[in-house]
């Protein structure tokens, strides 16, 4: 029994992406259409899609206020987070949680050895996992007296 949980195994492989040059209102339209709160900003290379940033709905909100420009004239790279925060696909779930905490983010793109996009992990994803594991633990504790009764009736 070897349950090794890595970022690559729990991430969501269906990721909505945008380019740095994508217009901001196009990015917003994409988010609405796909019912997501963020877009992974990528560049196409020979190795696949390389992650260059993240755009969240909150970034867009601050853009609407911060700029005197009509936000319809803005591009993704005018507004997206500057730092590229990613996790390797072989990182453990614990590493992922530590990264989210350290960087104060709720979502992290998961990348392969060449930095190519593999999926996205949101803070909600490990939650279900942690809750299930806790439930499993509780079940074990609850069944312990029953087991003892069966062994020593």
């Amino acid at each position: 029994m070897d349950m090794k949980l890595t970022a690559g195994e729990i991430c969501n492989r269906k990721v909505t992406v945008a380019h740095k040059s994508t217009a901001l209102n196009e990015a917003a339209r994409l988010m609405r259409e796909q019912h997501v709160g963020s877009l992974v900003v990528v560049e196409e290379t020979g190795d696949g899609l390389i992650v260059v940033g993240m755009l969240t709905d909150r970034d867009i909100v601050t853009a609407v206020v911060a700029k005197d420009v009509n936000p319809g004239h803005l591009r993704v790279d005018d507004v997206m987070g500057r730092e590229v925060i990613t996790a390797r696909d072989d990182a453990s779930v614990l590493d992922l949680l530590a990264s989210m905490r350290r960087e104060s983010v709720r979502r992290i793109p998961v990348v392969g050895p060449k930095g190519q996009l593999i999926g996205l992990v949101a803070a909600d994803d490990p939650m279900g996992l942690i809750a299930d594991e806790l439930h499993t633990l509780v079940q074990a504790l609850v069944s312990q007296p029953r087991r003892e009764q069966q062994a020593r009736p």
Partner: protein
């Protein structure tokens, strides 16, 4: 733990006649992801709905309109899910699950809005409770270990053995 002690107070509100640019500004100023929208009536301001940064960013920009030209009242989510401040954690979780929401308006006995509680707030409370239980378990283990250490080196008892061939008892060594 009841909602009254978990919820965020006060609630940041704005009137429905305001526009989305103002809403975004308020959210940024107060570092919140949602605003309660009120409507002025003869009886004073009433809660009309909720607007989140998501509603704002996505609906408005996706439609390509200027935020300053959109009245908040047109975009708000008027499906209001509220709970009394004496409701507990379980009530709140059940309600969020049943209604499919991640935020609850918290009201007092008079039905007035007093706070807002989010999914994240509830998660924080649950996590604290779980940490508390873990600490109970750890303290238990430490106590057991301390007891075992004490039991391993008992004071030597005085053994009394009968002297061979006599009926009297002599203190042993």
């Amino acid at each position: 733990m009841n909602l009254g002690s978990i919820c965020t107070r006060p609630v940041i509100t704005m009137p429905r006649s305001g526009n989305l640019r103002q809403a975004a500004g308020l959210m940024r100023e107060h570092h919140v992801g949602s605003l309660v929208i009120t409507e002025d009536t003869a009886d004073g301001p009433w809660v009309a709905g909720l607007i989140t940064d998501r509603d704002l960013a996505i609906d408005v920009l996706a439609r390509g309109v200027d935020a300053a030209s959109v009245e908040v009242g047109r975009v708000l989510d008027s499906r209001l899910v509220s709970a009394p401040e004496d409701a507990d954690l379980t009530d709140a979780i059940d309600l969020m699950q049943a209604e499919g929401v991640r935020r609850l308006l918290v009201r007092n006995e008079d039905g007035d809005l007093v706070g807002l509680v989010s999914f994240d707030d509830l998660l924080e409370v649950c996590a604290a409770q779980l940490s508390g239980l873990a600490a109970v378990a750890r303290a238990g283990i430490e106590q057991e270990a301390a007891k075992r250490a004490a039991a391993a080196a008992p004071a030597r008892p005085t053994v009394r053995v009968p002297a061979m061939g006599t009926a009297s008892w002599l203190p042993g060594t």
